[in-house]
């Protein structure tokens, strides 16, 4: 395609040419018309004249056609597999995805919830229902899960909500304060790295031979050394501004010290380098 900037002088040229044609009826005999390949018979038509003026510029080369094809794929992406995954009346269990969508085309109704990408999933086992609930919201469509196969949704607004316990009763185990824990052991030998654990019973009783011929306590016991020794850290109190000030001061001091050390090094370097 020609730029308009390039076209304007050509158009101007053409205009002068047509004017001269009108002013002089016997224009074709004039020598000034020799610019054209052949004399013009119809002076009012301008576009054929232009097309004849630009015979070569209209050609389409292969490179241009190829560009269009390259962009087409980005405009037509792959499908995102949205839509209903379970239809109305189908049996679902908790966590079962019912509908995938962009935005909230459907809202979670009874016994359903909505994920962070607006996916609707079941929170109870039951049968899927797609329904409207004008009392709750006049313009929203809901997806719910009904406990009974023939049940209907929505339930009336003033009816007690139907829920399921979904729990079983077992004998209560009283929590023991501290259980012996097992300890992980890693040993690297000729047959590769072996990860094993010291049994819970053995791990409790004092230092043992650990990998690397070390007699020491289990890792979890070392972690609890402070607790055994009765060392307690002062609990953090955000209103204790005196403690906060002291900590801040100590931090600032340390930072200043580090900076001064760093500064010495840097200055030496700087002197040497620059």
């Amino acid at each position: 395609m020609f730029q308009s900037r390039l076209l304007t002088p050509l158009r101007a040229l053409e205009r002068t040419h047509v004017l001269s044609l009108r002013s002089t009826p016997a224009a074709h005999r004039l020598p000034s018309t020799s610019l054209l390949p052949r004399p013009v018979s119809a002076p009012t038509l301008s576009s054929p004249t232009l097309s004849k003026l630009l015979p070569i510029s209209q050609a389409r080369h292969a490179s241009h056609a190829a560009q269009g094809a390259a962009n087409r794929h980005s405009r037509d992406p792959a499908g995102k597999r949205l839509g209903a995954k379970r239809s109305g009346g189908e049996y679902v269990v908790p966590g079962c995805i019912i509908y995938k969508q962009r935005g909230t085309k459907w809202f979670p109704g009874e016994n359903c919830d909505i994920g962070r990408n607006h996916t609707i999933y079941a929170t109870e086992a039951g049968y899927v229902r797609y329904y409207l609930d004008p009392e709750r919201h006049p313009g929203r469509k809901y997806i719910g899960v009904c406990f009974e196969k023939e049940g209907k949704l929505p339930t009336p607004r003033n009816a007690p909500s139907r829920r399921k316990l979904n729990r079983v009763s077992v004998a209560r185990v009283s929590e023991t304060p501290e259980k012996p824990q097992s300890d992980l052991m890693v040993s690297t030998g000729p047959e590769g790295t072996i990860v094993a654990d010291v049994e819970a019973v053995n791990a409790e009783s004092g230092p043992q031979l650990r990998p690397g011929y070390m007699f020491r306590e289990a890792n979890w016991q070392i972690g609890r050394a402070a607790e055994k020794a009765g060392i307690t850290a002062k609990p953090y109190d955000r209103r204790n501004r005196w403690m906060a000030w002291r900590k801040r001061q100590a931090k600032a001091e340390r930072a200043a010290q580090m900076k001064s050390l760093k500064g010495k090094k840097g200055s030496k370097k700087g002197k040497g380098g620059r």
């Binding site: 009816a159 007690p160 079983v168 077992v170 209560r172």
Partner: protein, 418 residues
């Protein structure tokens, strides 16, 4: 109280309690005081103690001193901001304030009040005249009733409008010294309650589904506060099971005049039932014929009489380990026409705590819910102790989540996929 008395009261108050901390302002205030200088100075000298030793409830503004006052049993007056402002103010009564525009505005308000009082008198006379007429003379029983109702409503409105622009009324209400037997203070208290606390209550009872689960509908019109021991429980709070072994105390503020007889019920709709894989109701408390009025607000559930009021005494709520939290919903239900219910008959009939829902009770005795509250209960460290104390039958049982059988794996048919 006569109007002149009301007007002179702040003046007297001002004379009685001179601000000790408002020393710079006191100089300017002197010009307006009617008492002698000598008396003023003598008063100041007797209060030689520093302010932090004996803080004044009218002027204290630091939290520490407020707490000290509370421990002494004195409540600080009004808002903290107001008390802080008063420390530096001369505390001149409204009548003597030297602002001309303010005084003019007060005059206009006074004139308006006098006009309203005249209106009240007129309406009262009209009502009295109309009530003496026979229904035939008034044009039918229905017409008479509707006219009387409309006039009485208008009268109540006028009573409120007469006082609502009074700065002293506003001050008294904000200081918490309003007299709830007067319609204007009830109106102001109601408005304040509806601005925030009622909204919170309604939100909690609807979002936690108490409203469709326990009762189909409730429009709270009384402000109910719930205390366990001395702690105020916000609607929907979790209450420690040890704290809830003793029956709660209620502070029920009515916003209408007159006396009412109410029924107070505490229902738990979340008692797990393994057999039906659902939940049962349990009534933790039921008392009838509890008198309420705008001025007598305190109801201690443990101190109601067992002979004439308490049908089912308090049962401490406990939640088994692993069970979803229990919603303990308290409802205040107005009895029909505030007539007393037959206590003996109810006591004989309503003996079963378990699975007694509030809906049939409401229809049987024509009760109307006027107030609600809600607290929650769950398994905590003290629950086992409380269970043993009350002899809970299933104390050694724990609830675990039921395993959900996954859906059978469905093999996809690749030929139909494209």
């Amino acid at each position: 109280m006569a109007h002149c008395e009301r007007v002179s009261k702040p003046l007297l108050q001002c004379l009685r309690s001179t601000p000790t901390r408002g020393l710079p302002g006191l100089q300017s205030a002197r010009a307006f005081h009617s008492t002698s200088v000598a008396r003023e100075d003598a008063q100041v000298e007797t209060k030689s103690q520093p302010f932090h030793k004996s803080p004044d409830p009218e002027l204290v503004s630091s939290p520490r001193l407020e707490r000290r006052l509370m421990r002494q049993g004195l409540a600080p007056v009004g808002s903290r901001r107001r008390r802080a402002a008063l420390q530096n103010s001369p505390n001149v009564p409204f009548e003597q304030l030297p602002y001309q525009c303010f005084q003019e505005a007060r005059n206009i308000l006074q004139a308006d009040r006098i006009e309203k009082l005249k209106d009240i008198e007129r309406i009262r006379e009209r009502i009295a005249r109309y009530e003496t007429l026979s229904p035939e003379q008034a044009g039918g029983k229905q017409v008479q009733n509707s006219k009387l109702g409309a006039w009485k409503e208008h009268l109540e409105k006028l009573k409120i409008q007469a006082d609502i622009n009074d700065p002293i009324v506003k001050k008294k209400f904000e200081d918490g010294q309003g007299d709830m037997s007067k319609p204007i203070y009830r109106f102001l208290a109601d408005r304040k309650w509806r601005e925030y606390r009622r909204k919170i209550l309604v939100q909690r009872i609807t979002q936690m589904k108490v409203i469709p689960d326990v009762l189909p509908h409730c429009d709270p019109v009384v402000d109910a506060k719930l205390y366990f021991g001395r702690g105020l429980i916000q609607p929907g709070d979790f209450v420690d099971s040890k704290a809830s072994t003793t029956p709660p105390k209620l502070d029920v503020q009515m916003f209408e005049g007159g006396n009412k007889l109410v029924t107070i019920v505490v229902v738990d709709p979340d008692v797990p039932n393994m057999e039906k894989d659902g939940f049962d109701y349990r009534t933790h408390y039921l008392a009838v014929n509890v008198p309420l009025s705008a001025t007598s607000t305190k109801v201690d559930l443990s101190k109601l009489s067992t002979e004439s009021q308490v049908v089912l005494p308090w049962e401490p709520p406990v939640a088994q380990k692993g069970s979803p939290y229990h919603r303990l919903s308290l409802f205040i239900l107005e009895q029909n026409n505030s007539q007393p219910l037959d206590f003996a008959a109810i006591k004989a009939k309503e003996t079963e705590r378990h699975n007694m829902s509030l809906r049939p009770l409401q229809t049987r005795y024509h009760l109307k819910p006027i107030g609600a509250h809600l607290f929650r209960n769950q398994w905590d460290d003290n629950t086992l102790e409380v269970m043993k104390q009350i002899g809970y039958p299933e104390a050694d049982i724990e609830l675990r989540r039921k395993r959900v059988e996954p859906l059978p794996y469905k093999r996809r048919n690749p030929s139909t996929m494209r």
